[in-house]
C-alpha cells in the first residue's frame, strides 16, 4: 500500500454538549475535513473508558481523538478534568507500548468552534496519515 492510497481509520469521541455540537457546526458551515474521521457521541468526555481506546486500536484504528468542552466549561462541571487526567496516563502507557503519542489526542472544542473542529480534524488526519498504518496493537483474530 503506497502512502497516497492510505486512508487512516480515525475514531473521534465527542462529548454531546460541546464538541459534538462543534462538529455539527462545522457541518452547518460546510467546513471540510476528511471522511476518515468517524464520530462517536458520548454524554461527556469523562464517559470515555480507556478500554474503548484500547479496543479501537485492537480493531485496527490508526488514531483516536477525544474532544470535550474547554476546561471549566464542562456541562457536568468536572468531567473533562477527569478525562484529561485519565487520557494523560493512558496515552503515555500507549506510547510505551509502541502506539506513538501522535496517534492519540485530546482537544477542547466548544459548541461555537466549528472552524476549530474542522482544523483539528484536518491536522490530526494529516499527522496520522504521515505515521501510516497502526499495527502495534491490532488483534488480527478480529479481522475477517
Amino acid at each position: 500500500m503506497s502512502m497516497n492510497e492510505f486512508k487512516p481509520k480515525i475514531v473521534a469521541f465527542c462529548c454531546n454538549w460541546c464538541s459534538y455540537a462543534g462538529a455539527d457546526l462545522a457541518g452547518t458551515n460546510r467546513l471540510n475535513y476528511p471522511a476518515d474521521v468517524k464520530i462517536i457521541r458520548v454524554p461527556c468526555s469523562c464517559r470515555v473508558n480507556p478500554m474503548f481506546i484500547l479496543r479501537a486500536f485492537q480493531r485496527g484504528a490508526d488514531g483516536v481523538i477525544l474532544c470535550g468542552c474547554h476546561p471549566g466549561d464542562c456541562h457536568y462541571t468536572t468531567g473533562n478534568y477527569y478525562a484529561r487526567r485519565r487520557m494523560t496516563m493512558l496515552f503515555s502507557m500507549l506510547d510505551y507500548l509502541g502506539i506513538e503519542k501522535e496517534r492519540t489526542r485530546v482537544e477542547w472544542v466548544s459548541a461555537a468552534e466549528g472552524a476549530k473542529f474542522a482544523a483539528v480534524m484536518n491536522d490530526f488526519v494529516k499527522t496520522v496519515t504521515e505515521l501510516g498504518e497502526n499495527k502495534r496493537l491490532e488483534d488480527l483474530r478480529c479481522k475477517k
Binding site: 471522511a35 464517559r47 479496543r55 479501537a56 484504528a61 468536572t78
Partner: protein, 663 residues
C-alpha cells in the same frame, strides 16, 4: 434478536446531493438484525414519520435507526414517532449523515461510504439498546432572573404576571441597567427614563417580584426544575429595612470627590450615594473605596445625620440560598475599553467621548443638566465629529469581529438631537456602512440626513489630534470622493463596540451554559430556539445573547418569560433516563464512583448476598439515585470492577460502535 428498521432520509438534496441514499439503504439492509430498510425524501415530515410508524407496526420492529440530520436536531422528533407506534422511545438511534457527512464531503463515493459506516455504527448500537423509562421530578415554581436591566425587568414582570414568584438579582445598587443611562431612544425619541422608570416601579410594587439589588449569584447547583442558588448580597453599609431614601446623607457626606459611575465618571458624587433620583430600590449605598469611616475609621457624618438610624458600618455580605425551577440570564453589555484605539486620542482629550458618555452629557439628569458642553472647558461645541464602528467589525485582535448593531441608529439619534437643539452646530458622521434595518429605522436615518443636514461621510477617521488651542484636528478620508479631509472639531464622539458584561463568563461556567468565542451566550438553536440555552432550564434575555436594541431586547425578554412560564406550569418534568446503574454482584464497595460523582448521586447501602456455600454475607455496595444522576458517566470509568454502567451509553454499546467503525 432485535428486529431493526433503517430509515435513510434524503433531506431534499441536503443529504441526497452528496450521499447515494439508495445505496446506503441497500447496504444497511444487509446488516445483521436489520429486517427493513428504506429511504424517503423527508423523514421528519408527517409522511416520513408515518412511514416509520407503519414499518414499526408491520414488521414488529424492536429498534430503529434513522440516518438523517444531527440527533441534536431531530432525535426528540423520532423518539416521539417511535413512542406513537408503541416502540419505546429509547430504542431509536440517529446516524448523523448530514452535519457530519453530506455537508462536509463533496465526493459522492467517499460520502456514501462514510454514511454506510455511520449507519452500521448506529445499527450496532441500537442492537444493544434497552427500553428506558423516564422518571418524573417536581418543578420548583420560582424563577431567578440575573441582571436588572430592561431585559431582566421585562422578563421578571412577565413571569410575575403569570403568577409565579421571581427573584431579580442585580449587581448594581439599583435596577435599570444601561437604559437608565440613556437620554432618548430611537426611532421615536421617547425619553428613556419616562418609559423605563414606570417598569422599575412595577417591579418594586409587584408582590411576586423580589429584587436583590447590589447582589451577585455566588453559586449554582442542581438542574432544570431544581436549581439551588446562593445569592451574595453585598454589604451596602446601610440597613435596607430602615433607609427611607431621603438623601440627607448624600448631601452631608464630606467625600464629594468620588467619581460618579452612573455618569461614567464625568462628574463627582459623595461616597454615600443613591445612583439616580428614580433608583429602585431607593436606598443609599456607601462606596467602601472612598468612605473615610470605612477606610480610616474617621468621619461618621452620615450616621449622625440619618434620622432613620440606617447606617451600619459593620454590615457584612449576606448569603441567601434559594431554589428555582428556571434561571434567566440577562447580564447585558458594556462598551469596550478604548485603550487599543489610541489614534482617536480618547485617553488624551476629555473632549473625545464615547456615545454612552454623550448620552449622559445630553441628559437632563447628567453632569451639565442637559446642556451639551465640552467636558474640558464647559463651552458650547460648534463642530462635532462622530466616528462609527470603533472596535466593531474589526477582525484584528484590537476590537470585535461583529457588528454592534445599535450604533448606526443611536448616532443618527444623537446627530438629530444636536442639530435640533443647537442648529449652529455642524455634525459630521464618518461611517463604514449605515445599517438601518428595523421598523421606521431607515426613515429615521434619512430624516437626520435630509431634514437635519447631518454630514454623513463614508470613510474612516485616521487620527484625532488634540491641538494647543483646545480644538481636535480630525483627519479622515472620504471614500466616495477619494479626498483626504481635515476637520477642526470641538468634540469627537466614538461609537464604541459593545461587548458582553464581564460577569457573564464566570456565570456561564456556574450555569454550565455555553458561550461563543465573543462571550455571548449561545442559544439552543439559532433560529428555532433563540431564547433557550442548550443547558435545560437556562434562558437568555437581551444583549447577553447578542447585540440588540431596546425593542428587540424587550421582545426577547418576553419570549424568555413565556418559555419560563411554560416550564414552571408543568407539574413535573420527565428526567433523563440515561443514568448510571451499578451491578451489585460486581461492586466491591470501593467508593471510587462516589468520589468522582459531581452530583452526589451515589451512596452506599449494605446488602445481603447469598454466597456459593449457601451462607449469606452483608456487603457494602454502590447505589445510584436516578433522580439526581445527570448521566455524565464519570463513575463508569472510575469503577475498577466494571460494575457501574450508563443506560443509553453502555460499555457494550460504545464498544460495539468502535467495532463497527473499525470493521
Amino acid at each position: 434478536m432485535q428486529k431493526i428498521g433503517v430509515f435513510v432520509c434524503h433531506c431534499g438534496t441536503n443529504i441526497a446531493g452528496t450521499v447515494d441514499v439508495k445505496a446506503v439503504a441497500e447496504a444497511l439492509g444487509k446488516e445483521p438484525g436489520v429486517v427493513f430498510s428504506t429511504e424517503y425524501q423527508y423523514m421528519c415530515s408527517e409522511a416520513g414519520q408515518n412511514l416509520i410508524k407503519d414499518a414499526i407496526k408491520n414488521y414488529g420492529l424492536t429498534g430503529i435507526v434513522v440516518c438523517s440530520c444531527s440527533p441534536r436536531m431531530h432525535e426528540a422528533t423520532f423518539r416521539k414517532t417511535a413512542a406513537a407506534a408503541g416502540l419505546n422511545s429509547y430504542m431509536v438511534e440517529i446516524a448523523n449523515i448530514r452535519e457530519q457527512c453530506s455537508w462536509i464531503h463533496k465526493d459522492v463515493k467517499v460520502a456514501t461510504e462514510k454514511a454506510i459506516v455511520l449507519g452500521r455504527t448506529a445499527i450496532a448500537k441500537v442492537a444493544l439498546n434497552t427500553p428506558l423509562t423516564a422518571s418524573e421530578t417536581p418543578v420548583v415554581k420560582r424563577a431567578l432572573v440575573i441582571g436588572g436591566g430592561i431585559a431582566g425587568i421585562q422578563t421578571a414582570l412577565d413571569i410575575a404576571d403569570a403568577g409565579y414568584e421571581v427573584d431579580l438579582v442585580e449587581k448594581e445598587p439599583t435596577i435599570g441597567g444601561k437604559m437608565a443611562q440613556i437620554d432618548k431612544t430611537f426611532p421615536t425619541l421617547d425619553c428613556a427614563a419616562c418609559i423605563l422608570t414606570p417598569k422599575m416601579v412595577d417591579c418594586a410594587q409587584n408582590e411576586k417580584i423580589h429584587i436583590y439589588a447590589y447582589s451577585e449569584v455566588e453559586s449554582v447547583k442542581g438542574f432544570v426544575g431544581n436549581f439551588n442558588v446562593t445569592i451574595k448580597k453585598k454589604a451596602r453599609f446601610v440597613d435596607e429595612t430602615k433607609c427611607t431614601g431621603c438623601g440627607i446623607c448624600t448631601e452631608k457626606c464630606p467625600m464629594k470627590k468620588t467619581p460618579n459611575l452612573f455618569n461614567l465618571g464625568l462628574d463627582n458624587r459623595s461616597a454615600i450615594y443613591i445612583p439616580f433620583a428614580q433608583a429602585i430600590p431607593k436606598i443609599a449605598t456607601i462606596d467602601a473605596d472612598y468612605c473615610n469611616m470605612l477606610k480610616n475609621g474617621k468621619c461618621g457624618v452620615c450616621s449622625k445625620v440619618c434620622a432613620a438610624g440606617a447606617i451600619d458600618y459593620k454590615q457584612q455580605d449576606q448569603y441567601i440560598e434559594q431554589q428555582y425551577g428556571a434561571i434567566v440570564v440577562a447580564t447585558g453589555f458594556n462598551p469596550i475599553k478604548l485603550d487599543n484605539y489610541s489614534e482617536f486620542a480618547y485617553n488624551e482629550s476629555p473632549d473625545v467621548v464615547t456615545s454612552l458618555e454623550l448620552e449622559r452629557l445630553m441628559n437632563a439628569a447628567g453632569p451639565n443638566g442637559g446642556t451639551l458642553l465640552r467636558p474640558s472647558d464647559k463651552t458650547h461645541p460648534h463642530t462635532i465629529v462622530f466616528v462609527q464602528c470603533v472596535g466593531s467589525r474589526d477582525t484584528t485582535d484590537c476590537g470585535k469581529p461583529y457588528c454592534s448593531k445599535i450604533c448606526c441608529m443611536y448616532t443618527a439619534k444623537h446627530a438629530m438631537l444636536i442639530r435640533d437643539k443647537y442648529p449652529d452646530t455642524e455634525v459630521y458622521v464618518f461611517y463604514m456602512d449605515v445599517r438601518t434595518p428595523g421598523k421606521n429605522f431607515d426613515e429615521f436615518y434619512r430624516r437626520a440626513v435630509e431634514d437635519y443636514g447631518v454630514h454623513y461621510i463614508k470613510g474612516m477617521v485616521g487620527k484625532v489630534m488634540p491641538q494647543p488651542d483646545g480644538k481636535l484636528l480630525v483627519r479622515g478620508s472620504d471614500l466616495l470622493t477619494d479626498e483626504q479631509l481635515k476637520i477642526e472639531a470641538d468634540m469627537v464622539v466614538l461609537a464604541a463596540a459593545i461587548e458582553p458584561d464581564k460577569t457573564a463568563r464566570p456565570l456561564a461556567t456556574m450555569l454550565t451554559a455555553s458561550m461563543d468565542t465573543n462571550d455571548f451566550f449561545t442559544e439552543a438553536h439559532p433560529k428555532l430556539r433563540p431564547v433557550e440555552s442548550p443547558t435545560a432550564g437556562i434562558f437568555l434575555s437581551g444583549v447577553c445573547q447578542g447585540p440588540k436594541d431596546i425593542p428587540e431586547t424587550v421582545a426577547q425578554a418576553s419570549a424568555a418569560a413565556a418559555k419560563v412560564i411554560g416550564l414552571l406550569a408543568k407539574p413535573a418534568l420527565k428526567s433523563n433516563p440515561c443514568t448510571a446503574h451499578s451491578d451489585e454482584n460486581l461492586c466491591n464497595g470501593c467508593s471510587s464512583c462516589e468520589r468522582v460523582c459531581p452530583y452526589g448521586a451515589i451512596s452506599y447501602v449494605d446488602k445481603e448476598f447469598r454466597m456459593p456455600d449457601r451462607t449469606t454475607k452483608v456487603r457494602r455496595v454502590a447505589s445510584v439515585n436516578p433522580a439526581v444522576c445527570q448521566g455524565c458517566g464519570a463513575c463508569t470509568v472510575a469503577c475498577p470492577s466494571g460494575a457501574m454502567d450508563l443506560s443509553g451509553f453502555s460499555n457494550k454499546q460504545i464498544m460495539a460502535e468502535v467495532d463497527a467503525i473499525c470493521r
